[in-house]
């Protein structure tokens, strides 16, 4: 089971600034381990973000995304207290979804 994501969603006006940190090795399939064997590809392929259950942002990505990926994006029409969830799925079919409540900006 994959480690939880760290998600921060803070309002700036009616736009939520979202930052997500995912725990994932993002193996490219080109790196060799200590014994000289290639480490098989293992990387996140799709990311979806939902605001109160409605998809607002999505991405398809490759193994060129850095290990323990960080993404930031901005969601329109959000209010404090809204629920924002992020889901990723990797090339082995593993999935993880985490949810946060959007906070009012300072």
């Amino acid at each position: 089971m994959a480690e939880p994501m760290k998600i921060r969603a803070t309002l700036q006006g009616d736009v939520a600034d979202v930052r997500v940190l995912m725990a994932h090795p993002m193996e490219t399939g080109q790196r060799k381990d200590a014994s000289g064997k290639l480490v098989p590809m293992h990387f996140i392929q799709t990311i979806t973000a939902q605001l109160n259950g409605k998809t607002v942002f999505s991405a398809d990505v490759s193994q060129a995304i850095s290990r323990n990926p960080v993404f930031a994006f901005k969601v329109k029409g959000a209010k404090a207290g809204d629920k924002l969830s992020v889901t990723w799925q990797d090339n082995k079919g593993e999935k993880r979804t985490d949810e946060v409540v959007i906070r009012a900006g300072s």
């Binding site: 736009v15 930052r19 993002m26 490219t28 080109q30 392929q45 799709t46 973000a49 605001l51 409605k54 998809t55 607002v56 942002f57 999505s58 991405a59 398809d60 990505v61 490759s62 193994q63 060129a64 995304i65 850095s66 290990r67 990926p69 960080v70 993404f71 930031a72 994006f73 901005k74 969601v75 329109k76 029409g77």
Partner: protein, 154 residues
């Protein structure tokens, strides 16, 4: 017994390969909810853009790429991309000198601002090409990122 198993595996592998190829041929361009294997496995940015139907992208100054000019650590290069083209629905990123240049597509069509921050691996100094899609048309701009490889980076 062993023979049967071997040929079974071989037949299965060939069928899977064929299915993957078929899917790539039948679906040029970006289909929602289908990870574009053909584009992701392309070995040049031009081929990847062709697989995504973006080969005819025109140059634009309305796409802002913020990335370090010189990145000391190619394993983690932060990039901020903003499109000010009205109606931008997606942004795609290609790191031209990487073994597989197509890095990803970010879709804003359903309620996010055309901005994304990502962190990527860049194997050697390379142009980073961004394609923004708006109203079915593609616009592109490019930024060169130099990568210092080797131990003297710090």
């Amino acid at each position: 017994m062993h023979q049967t198993r071997r040929s079974f595996i071989r037949a299965g592998g060939a069928a899977a390969l064929l299915a993957a190829f078929g899917a790539a041929l039948l679906k040029p361009g970006r289909a929602l909810a289908a990870w574009n294997k053909g584009a992701f496995e392309a070995k040049s940015a031009v081929d990847a853009m062709r697989a995504l139907g973006m080969a005819n992208a025109e140059d634009s100054k309305a796409i802002d790429i913020r990335a370090p000019e010189i990145a000391e650590n190619g394993a983690v290069v932060p990039i901020d991309i903003t499109s000010s083209i009205p109606g931008t629905t997606s942004i795609s990123v290609f790191i031209e000198k990487n073994p597989f240049p197509y890095t990803g597509t970010f879709d804003f069509s359903q309620g996010s601002v055309p901005y994304v921050h990502l962190r990527v691996k860049i194997g050697e100094s390379s142009p980073v090409r961004v394609v923004a899609t708006a109203g079915g048309k593609h616009y592109t701009t490019v930024k060169e990122v130099k990568v210092t490889i080797g131990g003297c980076g710090g």
